[in-house]
Symmetry: D2
Subunit: 463 residues, 4 copies
Amino acid sequence: MCGIVGVAGIPDAAQLVYLGLYALQHRGQESAGIISIEPDGTAHSHRGMGLVNDVFPPGALARLRGDVAIGHTRYSTTGSSVLANAQPKLVNYHGGPLALAHNGNLINAQEIRADLVRRGSIFQSSSDSEVLVHLIARSDARRCEDQIRDALERVEGAYTLLLTVGQTVFAIVDPRGFRPLSVGRLGTGWVLASETCALDIVGARKVRELEPGEWLKIEHGRLIDLPPLASATPRRCIFELVYFSRPDSTVFGHSVDRVRRALGHALGREQPAPGADCVFSVPDSSNAMALGFAEETGVKLEHGLIRNHYVGRTFINPSQAARTAKVRIKFNPVQDVIAGKSVVVVDDSLVRGTTSRELVQMLRHAGAREVHFRLASPPITGPCYYGIDTPNRGELIASSHSIDEIRAHLGVDTLGYLSLEGMLGAVGAEDRYCHACFSGQYPTAIPNHPGTRDHEPLPLVAD
Amino acid sequence: MCGIVGVAGIPDAAQLVYLGLYALQHRGQESAGIISIEPDGTAHSHRGMGLVNDVFPPGALARLRGDVAIGHTRYSTTGSSVLANAQPKLVNYHGGPLALAHNGNLINAQEIRADLVRRGSIFQSSSDSEVLVHLIARSDARRCEDQIRDALERVEGAYTLLLTVGQTVFAIVDPRGFRPLSVGRLGTGWVLASETCALDIVGARKVRELEPGEWLKIEHGRLIDLPPLASATPRRCIFELVYFSRPDSTVFGHSVDRVRRALGHALGREQPAPGADCVFSVPDSSNAMALGFAEETGVKLEHGLIRNHYVGRTFINPSQAARTAKVRIKFNPVQDVIAGKSVVVVDDSLVRGTTSRELVQMLRHAGAREVHFRLASPPITGPCYYGIDTPNRGELIASSHSIDEIRAHLGVDTLGYLSLEGMLGAVGAEDRYCHACFSGQYPTAIPNHPGTRDHEPLPLVAD
Amino acid sequence: MCGIVGVAGIPDAAQLVYLGLYALQHRGQESAGIISIEPDGTAHSHRGMGLVNDVFPPGALARLRGDVAIGHTRYSTTGSSVLANAQPKLVNYHGGPLALAHNGNLINAQEIRADLVRRGSIFQSSSDSEVLVHLIARSDARRCEDQIRDALERVEGAYTLLLTVGQTVFAIVDPRGFRPLSVGRLGTGWVLASETCALDIVGARKVRELEPGEWLKIEHGRLIDLPPLASATPRRCIFELVYFSRPDSTVFGHSVDRVRRALGHALGREQPAPGADCVFSVPDSSNAMALGFAEETGVKLEHGLIRNHYVGRTFINPSQAARTAKVRIKFNPVQDVIAGKSVVVVDDSLVRGTTSRELVQMLRHAGAREVHFRLASPPITGPCYYGIDTPNRGELIASSHSIDEIRAHLGVDTLGYLSLEGMLGAVGAEDRYCHACFSGQYPTAIPNHPGTRDHEPLPLVAD
Amino acid sequence: MCGIVGVAGIPDAAQLVYLGLYALQHRGQESAGIISIEPDGTAHSHRGMGLVNDVFPPGALARLRGDVAIGHTRYSTTGSSVLANAQPKLVNYHGGPLALAHNGNLINAQEIRADLVRRGSIFQSSSDSEVLVHLIARSDARRCEDQIRDALERVEGAYTLLLTVGQTVFAIVDPRGFRPLSVGRLGTGWVLASETCALDIVGARKVRELEPGEWLKIEHGRLIDLPPLASATPRRCIFELVYFSRPDSTVFGHSVDRVRRALGHALGREQPAPGADCVFSVPDSSNAMALGFAEETGVKLEHGLIRNHYVGRTFINPSQAARTAKVRIKFNPVQDVIAGKSVVVVDDSLVRGTTSRELVQMLRHAGAREVHFRLASPPITGPCYYGIDTPNRGELIASSHSIDEIRAHLGVDTLGYLSLEGMLGAVGAEDRYCHACFSGQYPTAIPNHPGTRDHEPLPLVAD
């Protein structure tokens, strides 16, 4: 997963992009980058591995001059966590400097790439996004929006894009609209961001979310609607609401906090835990769901687990981790809340089950008499091909185990999932969501090669 | 404020100290350090500025060999945030290598230091803790516990200490017991830590907390009680329970989470907000207090503010910070919860009022109809001389303003503080707490020079 | 200028390339890089700005596994001293991983690059060498040697190349043979290097120098002669012998030391300094020339100037440099040798005259009674387009000033240059040298744009 | 060995000290440091491991404000190459900030240190120089010159010192005057340096060298002679002239270049090599000696060995070094000079013989018919206790082998050393030199513990 931010028509645009990326840090912690463009077309790039704060030391921002800038944070994926894959990507093509920030995943990138390489293109990274750059550079069209359109007609999958050619900014959402993008106004300039929390942090006023297939051009301070891409049935990613986006954002027209509260209520209705002494969340992503569950069922709300927020980047010695449960690094139980009690634990979703199993053992060790595990979404049975870094199907516990097997594996007294209908009901039940990871109903052909982002790993090791 | 951890009698002790420091990261983010001692007496030191994770890169721990180790995290204080002041301090004296980790503050360090310097001692830092090292080295006593006792008889103030001389570990709490220290058992070894959450993370079983004036020696795997220091009336720091310690810790015999819930109940009783639509905390330190308030008053609990946990180390350009309220970097309101509502905001305490004022403005901007501010502790009217980095008296808003003036300054509809009696009632009301910052009843003489930690700044700039 | 080294068929080939680069450090101090290829085709790259020692810290070499490796050191040129331009360049093209190290300069790179960009190629650097990579990738030929030949038929200028495609190594010298390349044998493997001193350092036995237009292929341990490139009149760079190469190397069939001694003898014959008390060199490049001069003329040899060999990387504060002559950082006179004497100073060549002027002032200040300046090559009147970083014509003092004007500018009593005939006589006088910078007889068309290496500076600033 | 520089009464004094250290880089490459003092007494320190250029990046000097500064470069000694031992040392004592730079070695430091530690002093380093600091701080005298004199009366050995107390500078040479120190004038300010080449580089005019036992005070711009230390027979280190100092310096009243030429002449007289084809030096320290030898004997001077001046900091893989002779990294023979010839090699001195043996093998491999090795100083039979880092007696080849055994070990046809009388004759033969390493006539008691600089290694590993 990734987060993207763009600013146009505001002095020191990179400063605002930096703040925006910082608000979107949860969408990607592997690498971060900003590219700015000065009025004379000079482009500046700064990218690095790590968190936004680590990538941009005091002073780095000062060099990113210009009133146009785009930025990107990238999630850690297996195997190709290298600077070459960090975004935004900046290249010179015959139309001038071109920068690109991409949230999503192209499912036919590998085929196109093989064709381009055969014809003499030289790739700099293993990222699917670079395919777009080469397609644009190879287009015979004269206007850059036509070059971009030529390129987009070749690709399939999920792409929410911020692109600059010179000082012109393009904002594009693929026809199914898997990933969100909002546009806001700040003074006489424009701010674009994956989530509204990034508009809030810079003080921009939200204008609207982009619709599936929509694309905008910002030039000389004016926002222009370009003809939309070929239409398709919208397939908004429901996992953005369940887990990925921040609760203070508005995504796909919904307050994320309110959706999660509704998911908690639905979970309480479908999967109550009569007789339990208390309920608590696995903080922080399921806080709203646990509160909803408590409101719905009347079970007393507690804070049973404390999360250590410094955890993100801890180096733990493997042998040490063997002795101490790894989960203790992240969570610690509140003994006085748990000892001797029958507790309900609410989490947003269950992927591999590894962490949850350790969590349950920790709660038992802290004296929990009964543990009732509740999940505010259905079993995850398939991988995502549209930009969320779920593991392979084989590692998804619900793809090959029954609910009772999972219950036994976790070591809980009862286990309850929210149903697909219950989940969709909480977001209005319209047929505009992608829920393929839960339902197996993939909105596109499935790629032959199940790898997600990074096709054809380069047989070379960069400096 | 600082956090300290010690381990004795366990192979690769530094690995456990590292985990323990990591659990105590909230007690100090300025610098961190670990000193380990091998069975042959060889001592290894690694210290650095920044978070535990930054200070100890993969590999640094491997060099900290030995089955005895002590560690320290230090809070950022004004003016002398330099490596020379990082702890633990390791020196060679005539008794061999001596390491010291200190939580607290000595109120007569400046006078003693001046005397030592006059007699030819050369100081390496501006920290008050170094005074102890020189006093020990200058003692005429032959046994090292007598040297330490000689030194401690000279100093006054707050000191919870972990000291090693060779492989012998000493754990000492000053006669008033301002700062906490617990001892735990792990296999055949011992673990000491400021808070029990650091025992939990390494899987140690809590044995007990040290009493005021108590000191322990651990030698050859055995824990020995040494004769206590001169007795005094216990003065446990109540701010540890109100704000400083982690909710999953047990401190001064209390579950911090349960104390904070009780503070929330008491606040609800003393300062209800009839007619409010909802209540929420300023996350995360007041979460339990807001829940207690909601339980007591029946006002609906919400999550109205979302905290960005990546905030700790963000560099914000000053001019940028001027445009965007600084508070937005840390908190963002959930629009749908707040717009048009009468809201109660619960916080643990109020120091300068700057952040709270900006927070209130942000809530107003998000559409709050009424804002009722509630504080789960009394007005802070004086600085702390015992190790908490409160600002000078002049910056404490309650030292010079009435509650109504503060209400107007914050821009809230109503403002309610918990009373001193209410606060003490929540912790059992016994006369064993220091509440000087709230009550002005300082348990020691007040130093003439109100600076706290760092006396006599060196007129030199180290490399 | 640059230095290149290649090794094939020897385990840990990168270790030998490292030593070879180290011996060629004088050919380029701006950046260094090595690319190694394992038997399974996996390529490893490590490049960096700075000296060989700085670029390859302990451990970096260990990661450069494989029995084939090529390396490059690059000279500092104005304006584009960036990592992107460091070599060897490693890319993936349809034939697999391709690595390239280039010594020389292509005079038509800019035109070809513009054409390639128009057709959709994306360049990663501003270096002329990248043109070759794209031409190879765009070739329709099937065999990689044919692809390379297609590419070379498009370019004009100076190129001595080491290229790898998979584990196959190609060594190529352009038809005029501007830059040297020797091949040596070490056990059952092969070593290629710009100068023989790099064969010496790894203990390789010199087999031969490559002739102009020659190219070799090394595959499966066998060295194969490929059909030569289209023939042309050889134009070996005479400046390699006069200044650039190390005196312990054999270049273009000559011992550099012996050539320089002969230049000194010729200079003594043409430009004696009767009555002088002593002669000394500007160390170290003209040591052999001064000795030859002394032998020829009978003037007593002295060491009048001491060179500080730590100078290369000194940061001198500009305002400081204004006060102290910059030349003092590099050279210091031996007072007792110079005071009251009539001295002859021998240097290899004179470019701008700035340093020499300061040197003369320093000698006068040290008490020299008379200063006779002697140059062991003719006046430099034109820039080099073939890989030596001479300044623009306007900065070459001899392009616009008479010898007497130069004498007055330097402030010397007499000034004597070696004649073109004298210089050529010292190397055998055959018509196989490029001496364009002295004679204006350029062996190719002169590019319109007088910039040398770095065409079309990218309007972007890389990270 | 070390180099020291001091500047007083000149704005931005640290800039000049930096240049001076740079000229003294040959006296110590392990670490470097500068301490500056502002008019208000504020002291600034910057020290680091490595070369002067590495230690002071652009910008570091700017922070070293003040018109008084002292600097130090330190030679690499075995075992305690750590930042804590870098100089100048800066501490706060009761007299204010005190900085010290020391060239030499105290032979009774270990005993004094043990006594000070017993009395409660805490040492920060393992360097002998720190003893002086503690002695000064412990003195009961009131004036700082009396405190310093008290300290110096306790120590024995070699010490050339630059000391600052506040803005007052003291320059002191021990009564035997082992190490040189010159004072120069620059405008209205003063410059002090180990060698005159450091005066030259800043453009200072030499005033005089300090005599043994002399000490100067510079205060308020005035240079004041203080009463000298107790007198003793001068014992100037002859190795400064033979090897250590730069040829462009004047040391102990002699031009180093002229002394070395005279040593070469004496060597030619005592140890000619009749019938040899040519003579060359092991560059650069014996260049003048080889020239003198050639002049004396009429044997033709050549440049047979080329030195790679980038060698200082090369990391060579040990296994690689086994395959290639290590000496090749530093020197390469000129084949055409050597092949088939009878050669004379002149070096300044022979310590272990390891490098020379490899050098001879390299010359044989390059085809030398006969090798005649000549040394311009006598056999080294004992270690230095006065600041030169000679190895232990056991590693000195001449301490336990006859000249014929050494000849066989080196593999040369003949071996000739200059005699003690011959060496002393070249410097005027007065009885004012220490030649203990050649003659065994140590001017002080020899310490029991033969370790030189670093007594009592701390059993702790600093960060």
